[in-house]
């Protein structure tokens, strides 16, 4: 980024809450049903129907508030946001406006310099999602699918504390991790369960006043967030450096062309005419309720990461990777508990071979073909020198392919490491005898040929010879004359 400009970003993250039914009706929230099969009369905004608040959505919002160190409001109020659109059946969205359920929270991220940075969370409020307009396939008409109408959302609004696209992504990732830890959202970005709007502005470095911002709507992948923000920063710098002004407006990111485009300017914006929804009572939460929710919170990602460093002696980076996902962290802990080996070795396996295999097969940790106990069994065999680290990778692949436990695979394939000195000595001597020219060179001082000899011995033993023993024996035999 051009050094003279400071970038200011705030995110509004929309998280779909994982309730079984909608926020104000009993209709199912399951994704992917036939259009308009999961919309009841309340979702359709029929005359005379009334909303009834889903208590589970409130509990989830409360969980989130406590997890980000925020104030959970004793009294919050639902308001109507009025605008006309065909996928908004009532002509208003029920949201929270002046009195949201969560205020004054915070989240820590690693900034560009790798240091901890506090990002303020202004507020998080409950609201209902709209339906979907489908503009293709209806011959000059648009289709409306109201399955999503009334799905509970938690809109999480950050302070304009983010200073780069990277920081924005880091923050969004941490929120993403958190909502899944809390079991309040599946975080599925393809299905739109987790998406954000980015408010972006630039100002001359050192200025106190904020520049004019634009809002980029509906970003549903971390990659798009980063690209859209970077495009927008460049665009704004160009506009200003060309002597023009940034216009306050809403923009859309076109991922195909990697650019943002104007959607509507401030002048064209709706006057939403917010007012408290008279159909719903204020949400009143007492201290006992909030305490009970606090007690139900799981260990949070940051705390878990710190514990992995402190208790398991893991590298910070590895602890961070392992705690991105609660199931992955649980897997690690259970594998570490099942083996006598160093936890760092377990971490290396989980982050290395296991993650690679999961990625390759498109599986998540919950459906891993090698469970934590089995992986621990494999690591034990390395630890007790039954097999080498290299052979272990072969064993792991066989286990992944369903050939059984580590011991079964080692047994069936005859992969037990050769640690019998006499047996290794025999191979070493065979190799020395077969390569007299190299032996002469080695003895003449070309000691880097040791690698060649080790390789030959390992080949001869089909990888099963204990490498440390091979090394020692070779040095002994080659140097003894």
């Amino acid at each position: 980024m051009s050094g003279q400009w400071e970038v200011v970003i705030g995110l509004e993250i929309h998280t779909q809450l994982a309730t079984a039914s909608k926020i104000f009706s009993g209709a199912s929230t399951a994704y992917g049903a036939e259009p308009n099969t999961q919309a009841c009369l309340i979702d359709l905004g029929y005359p005379g129907v009334l909303p009834v608040l889903n208590a589970e959505a409130v509990r989830m919002a409360c969980k989130f508030g406590l997890a980000v160190n925020a104030t959970v409001a004793r009294r919050s109020v639902f308001a109507r946001k009025n605008y006309f659109y065909p996928d908004l059946p009532k002509g208003y969205q029920i949201s929270q406006y002046e009195l949201p359920i969560v205020e004054h929270g915070e989240m820590y991220i690693s900034n560009d310099a790798g240091k901890d940075k506090r990002i303020g969370i202004t507020r998080a409020h409950l609201e209902e999602d709209a339906g979907k307009s489908i503009h293709e396939g209806f011959d000059r008409h648009s289709g409306i699918d109201l399955n999503r109408a009334g799905t509970p959302l938690l809109e999480i609004v950050s302070e304009p504390d983010l200073r780069s696209a990277k920081e924005a992504v880091a923050y969004m990732r941490k929120i993403h991790t958190l909502v899944r830890y809390l079991d309040i959202s599946d975080g599925n970005m393809q299905e739109g369960s987790f998406r954000c709007d980015a408010n972006v502005s630039i100002r001359p470095r050192g200025d106190k006043d904020l520049g004019t911002r634009t809002e980029i709507k509906n970003l549903n992948s971390f990659r798009f967030v980063e690209k859209a923000i970077n495009f927008e920063i460049e665009r704004q710098i160009n506009v200003i450096e060309d002597g023009a002004r940034v216009v306050q407006e809403t923009r859309l990111y076109d991922s195909g062309r990697d650019e943002t485009r104007s959607m509507r300017t401030k002048e064209e914006a709706n006057d939403y005419r917010y007012f408290p929804d008279p159909d719903l009572l204020p949400v009143e939460l007492d201290a006992a309720y909030i305490d009970a929710v606090r007690k139900s919170l799981p260990e949070l990602p940051d705390a878990k990461q710190q514990r992995f460093v402190d208790d398991y002696g893991l590298r910070t980076d590895d602890a961070s990777i392992l705690t991105v996902n609660r199931q992955l962290a649980d897997y690690f802990e259970s594998a570490a508990a099942g083996t006598g080996a160093e936890p760092q070795v377990v971490a290396n396996w989980v982050i290395g071979e296991l993650s690679a295999a999961l990625n390759r097969d498109g599986l998540d940790i919950g459906s891993s073909r090698v469970d934590a106990g089995a992986l621990a069994g494999l690591i034990d065999r390395i630890d007790d020198k039954t097999i080498s680290g290299k052979i272990a990778k072969q064993v792991f692949e066989a286990m992944w392919a369903g050939e059984g436990s580590a011991d079964e695979v080692i047994e069936a394939r005859g992969l037990r490491q050769i640690t019998d000195t006499a047996a290794i000595e025999a191979i070493v001597e065979k190799v020395i005898a077969a390569n007299s020219a190299q032996v002469a060179e080695y003895r003449a001082g070309k000691h880097k040929l040791i690698g060649f000899f080790v390789g030959e011995v390992m080949k001869e033993s089909r990888g099963k010879a204990n490498p440390a023993q091979v090394n020692a024996l070779l040095k002994e035999k080659l140097g003894d004359r």
């Binding site: 009369l41 005359p47 005379g48 009834v52 208003y92 159909d279 719903l280």
Partner: protein, 491 residues
């Protein structure tokens, strides 16, 4: 005493209930008798938007069968009407609007369901001001209703069809809704009893919303005993309405008999200011004297912010209605313009064609008072004044049990007289609106005639004080019996 079917219409709900129980007549006979009257007399009144004759006859037969096999719901076989604002599954619900001219609700309102479960037989759906916005029934897309006491006059509104039908003995009782006086004012103008319960006493589920924080369902009947009987059936918590209140439902009928000895009745001085017709004032004063003679004591109370109730109401109610009526957009149900050019055209023409002038006026007023830059000056200020008015009532009820006064400033006015003058029309509700703003129960009970036109005595109670105002109205009614009077042409 046996009754011939030609006399059945003269009886109150309570009397009919006893007759059915004794086996003097069947629900089918009763239903047929009333349907015959409706066919014959409603051509004059226009009190009905839809008559559900077939359904009614089937329901009456079921009720008779149920009675024969020993079952007896509180209203088994008794005929009632529904204001056409209550959704009724399978029967169209128009809300008095072209917008919903052909709308058939897929579900029934809680009030409708509760009355049906108690065994009531629905004869039809009554005419009303469009979306309940009006005080004369003249804003109905289906034409004005005529007052049975003078066919040139309005029966009041918005529940004008319910009031006229009950007054003309086309049915013993009807449901209504009251946002600013829409049950009590037409009751007063037609010599019927109109009860608006406490906000939250009766579920609003399935009642098409006008102003959600003010709307309340209630009943229009021929007697206070009938109102008590029906309230006992429709009152109570409904999990589908978050604003309904989980408060015990007493036996309202049993409570009617209590003596008024020692009852403290509050009189509001402003109620007798210049705006009140002299004839009305005289009758209301006489009514107060009757209450005194029954043992009540009269005490002047002050409601200092009462004169702000009409302007407050006409900010709050339009604000809520502008949002409530947004769902009528031509997309999913209701009137849809032909061949729209685009989305904007679909919205503009569907709503432009579907809504009448008064509805449009209120949507525009409401949109204005909620808009950026005006919200604080209008909506927020109105809400603050509303709290002051509610506090005034609270203070008043610290010293009195009931507040009594006129229901309406004048008797029924002539059709066409006020329809082009909204402000004068709005002032019709000056005595009733306060109870809506404060969420209090109110009842209008007949208290005499100015010339040939009836007027009503208005009694307001504290929150959930229905029993008290019903008791007070009942004792007054027993003493005076004005509610027994029937317009000559409809005897």
């Amino acid at each position: 005493m046996s009754t011939t079917s030609s006399e059945l219409h003269t009886q109150t709900l309570t009397e009919l209930s006893q007759g059915l129980e004794r086996g003097d007549f069947s629900s089918l006979e009763l239903t047929r008798a009333l349907l015959e009257r409706i066919v014959r007399l409603d051509t004059v009144l226009n009190a009905f938007i839809t008559v559900t004759a077939e359904d009614a006859i089937a329901a009456a037969k079921r009720a008779d069968k149920a009675r024969a096999s020993g079952n007896a719901g509180a209203l088994l076989g008794l005929p009632i009407l529904h204001k056409d604002i209550f959704c009724t599954a399978g029967v169209r619900t128009t809300c008095g609007s072209r917008m919903l001219e052909n709308f058939v609700s897929p579900y029934s309102a809680t009030v409708v369901e509760r009355l049906a479960s108690a065994g009531a037989v629905v004869l039809g759906k009554t005419n009303m001001d469009e979306f309940a916005m009006g005080s004369s029934n003249e804003t109905s897309y289906f034409g004005p209703v005529r007052n049975p006491w003078d066919l040139e006059c309005s029966p009041g509104g918005s529940s004008g069809g319910s009031a006229a039908a009950v007054a003309a003995r086309l049915a013993p009782a009807a449901t209504g809704t009251d946002t600013g006086g829409s049950i009590r004012q037409p009751a007063a103008l037609t010599n019927t009893v109109g009860l608006k319960p406490t906000y939250g006493r009766v579920s609003r589920y399935g009642m098409i919303a006008f102003a959600s924080s003010l709307d309340q369902a209630g009943v229009i009947t021929r007697s206070t005993a009938d109102a008590a009987l029906l309230l006992g059936v429709i009152a109570g918590f409904d999990p589908r309405d978050s604003t309904s209140v989980d408060h015990p439902v007493p036996d309202y009928v049993e409570g009617l008999a209590a003596s008024l000895e020692g009852l403290r009745i509050g009189i509001v001085r402003q109620h007798f200011d210049a705006g009140l017709d002299a004839g009305c004032a005289k009758l209301v004063r006489e009514a107060l004297a009757v209450l005194e003679s029954l043992g009540a004591t009269l005490k002047e109370v002050d409601l200092p912010n009462l004169d702000l109730s009409v302007p407050t109401y006409y900010v709050v109610a339009p604000a809520e209605c502008s949002s409530n009526l947004s769902r009528f957009d031509g997309v999913r149900f209701g009137h849809r313009a032909d061949n729209p050019e685009d989305l904007f055209d679909l919205y503009c023409r569907s709503r432009g064609e579907g809504f009448g002038d008064e509805v449009k006026r209120r949507i525009m007023t409401g949109t204005y008072v909620l808009s950026a830059g005006y919200y604080d000056a209008y909506y927020l200020k109105a809400q603050r004044v509303r709290q002051l008015i509610a506090a005034d009532f609270k203070n008043a009820f610290a010293g009195v049990d009931v507040i009594a006064g006129p229901t309406s400033p004048t008797p029924a006015f002539r059709l066409g007289d006020k329809i082009d003058d909204p402000i004068t029309m709005y002032l019709n509700d000056i005595y009733t609106i306060g109870a809506n703003l404060a969420g209090l129960p109110g009842i209008s009970v007949p208290c005499g005639f100015v010339g040939r036109l009836p007027i009503g005595l208005h009694l307001v109670g504290p929150h959930f004080g229905e029993q008290r105002i019903l008791n007070c109205a009942h004792q007054y009614e027993r003493q005076t019996n004005f509610s027994a009077a029937c317009p000559e042409e409809f005897r």
